[in-house]
């Protein structure tokens, strides 16, 4: 077969002796072409991982308890958060370490960071971004190896290799999972999606491309706002990573100790499928009350994006944090108007009225 000699010329230098391929086995005519390509891929996976591994740190924590899941769903198996080590990624040479909020849901009393060269540092948890599930640690170190990120969203394409690195299994090397980029702009644009196997072993670690550049930081993200939502999908091929465009938006706040939280308007909404959400109640006090929103108002746009259903509104707001002003387009008795409403933290919102909560979109 003609393919064979051609292909051997591109045998990667780092693969082992080509004789290894056919050692003791009948060579399968023609199949070697694919074997050689796959061996080159395997070698490239290893090289990419080695390239980034010096920036991937192990995080050890002491103490803490299981997080309480608010409004846990009965059909969803509750995940028990382990005590083992987790993963982080060097974010700046002077000691900022990026990780996931998942790594600290147990609220540990002590956090230690172990660098790839085995040096160990006491770490301070500066702040969390509960929306993007990012956390920022600070260690007293200098000249740390900062990995290269793929900064432009346009450079990330569905179908390209995506490798997940982690230190959660505590071996001397990073663990490696291989997948592809499955989707872009997921979870209201917060994350890219991958079918690489993500789990507590690599949450907080990088998702990298075949050239060893960081595509995003692996975090659990799910269909609800529970602190560990998304963990139930571990190792299932449904995984998420926060890309640079989102990380950079968050990191400046986190580095100065500013925690980012999900915000609320203080609205109770009628969530009929396929219809714009209609206000049926207002918390008092609440930003919605202060902005003069009223029962009966329909929300037809938020943050300049059309809202055709409760799901739309939920999706749009998912990318926002408490403290942000959001313009809401309302329909009231046939007239349309716009109100700027700030998102507030739950503590600043009055108690709920006795109405059924809005339904979550379901899947099948």
């Amino acid at each position: 077969m003609m393919v064979l000699p051609l292909l051997l010329t591109v045998l990667p230098a780092w693969t082992q002796d080509p004789a290894r391929l056919i050692e003791g086995i009948e060579p399968v005519e023609g199949a070697s072409a694919a074997v050689v390509l796959h061996q080159a891929q395997a070698a490239a996976f290893g090289e990419a991982a080695k390239h980034v591994a010096p920036s991937v740190v192990r995080i050890e924590t002491v103490g803490g308890t299981q997080p309480v899941e608010p409004g846990g769903q009965p059909d969803k198996p509750r995940f028990i958060v382990a005590e083992g080590p987790t993963t982080g990624l060097v974010y700046s040479a002077d000691g900022l370490i990026l990780a996931s909020t998942f790594n600290f849901v147990r609220e540990p009393v002590s956090i230690t960071v172990i660098l790839a060269d085995d040096r160990r540092f006491v770490a301070e948890l500066l702040a969390r971004d509960e929306v993007r599930r990012l956390a920022m640690l600070k260690i007293d170190a200098a000249d740390l190896p900062v990995p290269a990120w793929v900064e432009s969203p346009a450079e990330i394409r569905v179908g390209q290799w995506a490798l997940a690195l982690g230190r959660g299994f505590a071996g001397p090397d990073c663990s490696l999972g291989v997948g592809i980029v499955s989707g872009l702009n997921r979870m209201s644009g917060l994350a890219i999606q991958t079918d690489a196997r993500l789990s507590p072993a690599n949450f907080g670690g990088p998702l990298i491309d075949i050239r060893g550049r960081v595509l995003g930081l692996c975090v659990p993200l799910g269909l609800d706002d529970a602190p560990i939502a998304g963990v139930e999908w571990y190792d299932s091929g449904i995984g998420f990573a926060v890309p640079y465009v989102q990380v950079s938006r968050s990191a400046t706040d986190l580095a100065v100790g500013h925690t980012l939280r999900r915000g609320m308007f203080g609205l109770e909404l009628d969530a009929q499928p396929g219809r714009p959400p209609r206000i049926i109640g207002l918390r008092d006090p609440s930003p919605a009350k202060r902005a003069d929103l009223r029962p009966g108002d329909e929300i037809i746009a938020a943050a300049d994006q059309p809202v055709a259903s409760f799901a739309d509104l939920r999706r749009i707001l998912r990318g926002h944090t408490a403290g942000q002003w959001v313009p809401l387009r309302l329909r009231r008795e046939g007239a349309e108007m716009t109100r700027e409403v700030i998102l507030a933290v739950p503590e600043d919102i009055g108690p709920p009225a006795a109405t059924a909560p809005a339904e979550d979109p379901s899947t099948r």
Binding site: P12, V28, Q39, V62, E83, G177, D195, G274, T363, R364
Partner: protein, 703 residues
Amino acid sequence: MPQLCVTAIVGVLVAWLTVPAITAAAQETPDLGAVLAEEQARVEVIAAASRSVVCILDPGGTAGGSGVIIAPDGYGLTNFHVVAEILKAEGEPGCGALSDGQRYPLEVIGIDPTGDVAMFRLTGRDSFDAAELGDSNLLRVGDSVWAAGNPFMLAEDYTPTVTAGIISGLHRYQYGADARTLVYTDCIQVDASINPGNSGGPLFDAQGRVIGINGRASFQRRGRVNVGLAYAISINQIRRFMPGLRAGLLVEHASLGATVMDSGYRRVVFDRVLANSPAAQAGIRTGDRLIAFADQTVYSANQFGNLLGAFPAAWPVSVVWEHEGQQSSQVIELDRLAVRADPALRKRFPTDEEVTRQAAREMAAPAKAGVDLSGTNPWAEALHRAQRHTVKLYGGRIGTQVGYGTGVIVSPEGEVVTVLSLLLEATHLRAVTHDGHVYRCEVVHRDDRRQLALLKMASRPEDPDTAAPLRTQMQPAVWEPFPVGDAASPAVGDWVLVAGNPFKVADGEEPVSVSRGVIAGRAPLLADRGTQPHPYQGEVLLLDTVTSNPGTPGSAVIDLAGRWVGLVGEVVTSRLTHTDLNYAYPIEEVAAFLRDPRTTNPPAASRSAAEERGPGYHGIRLSSIGYRRQLPFVRSVAEGSPAHQAGVRADDLIISANGVAVPQARVFAEVCDRLAPGDGLSLVIKRGEELISLTMTLTEPQP
């Protein structure tokens, strides 16, 4: 002709030619060029084919599945169970959303409730991007495939989720889980991640052609998330029903009017022939042997079900049977399979067998296998090994199964290595080899520490139904063992195949299921099996493909060169991550097990020094009050003790002991309990904001 082959050569040439350009641009080793070229080609194929993928939404827009457009005028395919809700909500149309972010009205055109297929039509655009249909007869196990769809409705902008994998098995038969679920016949099994919401979406081959419609998956105790087994209805089956679907019909599946049963090895007989059925009219009688159906030799009742299920009613099919030693052959027009269908659906979608007859006349003969596809699938050697050297294990009473698993043949005498499990306690333990023969097994060696067992197969196969020796005059079997000698040491990132019997989807002599992954790492096994710590704490290979499925433990892990590099262990939960661990024993450990003297009653594991003499003494007492109850804070250090001499002080927080992270006081105690007098203990402690490393040598226990 070998279109795929041509493509492969072109791809290779492109890869080869583009190397210098990439090198110049990125200063990388030239060898990465072929890898990058393949990646680029894949990205482009996916981008083009994704435009045909549809998110199908219920009238409410809150639930849905997936579909794929196959004609520019908007006709597309999905699962029947995806459009069932839309059909119920009469008046309100469903909608199909595309990756352009737009929703289009969706009308259900034709339905195949038995085969779980439906045809729909999108409107609202002059022309739609349509996917090309492939030929599922040309698929081989190990081929790269990818699935596209809308799992968990994650795509707010309606761009499909794309997941990659390989074909794990072909011609699979999937029973309905209950009376309401549909039987999938002759389906394609894949290891790509397919989840709720993927239903109805396309399975593509590497060139972006539709080869199946994804519809089902095997789930287990973790609930409805992918664990590496999903099933697609083959496009060649759907092709026969498509004229009827397109004509707006309810298409029906076929019946021969007779049922068959296995009767001995590779022997299938008619056990019931209905009066006036096509079979009866052709002269088939109860007890006749079925030789071939639709030009394929029939060797099991299950396989016959697979063949039959792929045909519509009224399709002419050739049948060869044998009556008292005499063969007959006839083309028989199949009858319709009686199924209950919703009367409302029957009213809305008529049936018309003339459409099927017309289609049968017009449909070109399907492509024959044997097209040269070499060069595109790297797993030929590994699959060859997987089939020849692995066995499916079943335990239980005769004719019933209470458990199942996988084993690997390791000696010419028919010894099989597998994992220790309840399966081995079964009264009737048997192994099914690649040729479908069934051998009684007995346990000849067990290792409680490694949790491995060695079985010995009987020298002659038995009848699967009666457990009596097979009537055939067979020589005692001689097996080809999977070599363990050339123990390869796989590197992190190396591709591997896991070959075994998950969810026992491979029936009889069907080839075992395979899934693809890489070596994810190496680490000591720190895991619990059930509530007990796993006794083996040596190094294991971590894998990035799911190994925690029922039946998978005992599977062989095989590399690209066809070498056996690991054996999947029992299902365990990692103590570090609290996840089901995907792992295998390295082949060196299996080899060591096989070198051990054989025994079925292993002596109690030799007691460790710590157990003999009691744990060594360090002199640290941990705090146990207030919120510090579970924290490894030092309360006091005994005067003159090793810890005292090493400099441990009250209020120190122990971070790590002998390299093991200490998140709780309990873990510190576990580490120390294993240490004998004379052993070293190195601690990392946190004192204030300072980390301090200390080492000590433990002494005899103090009274």
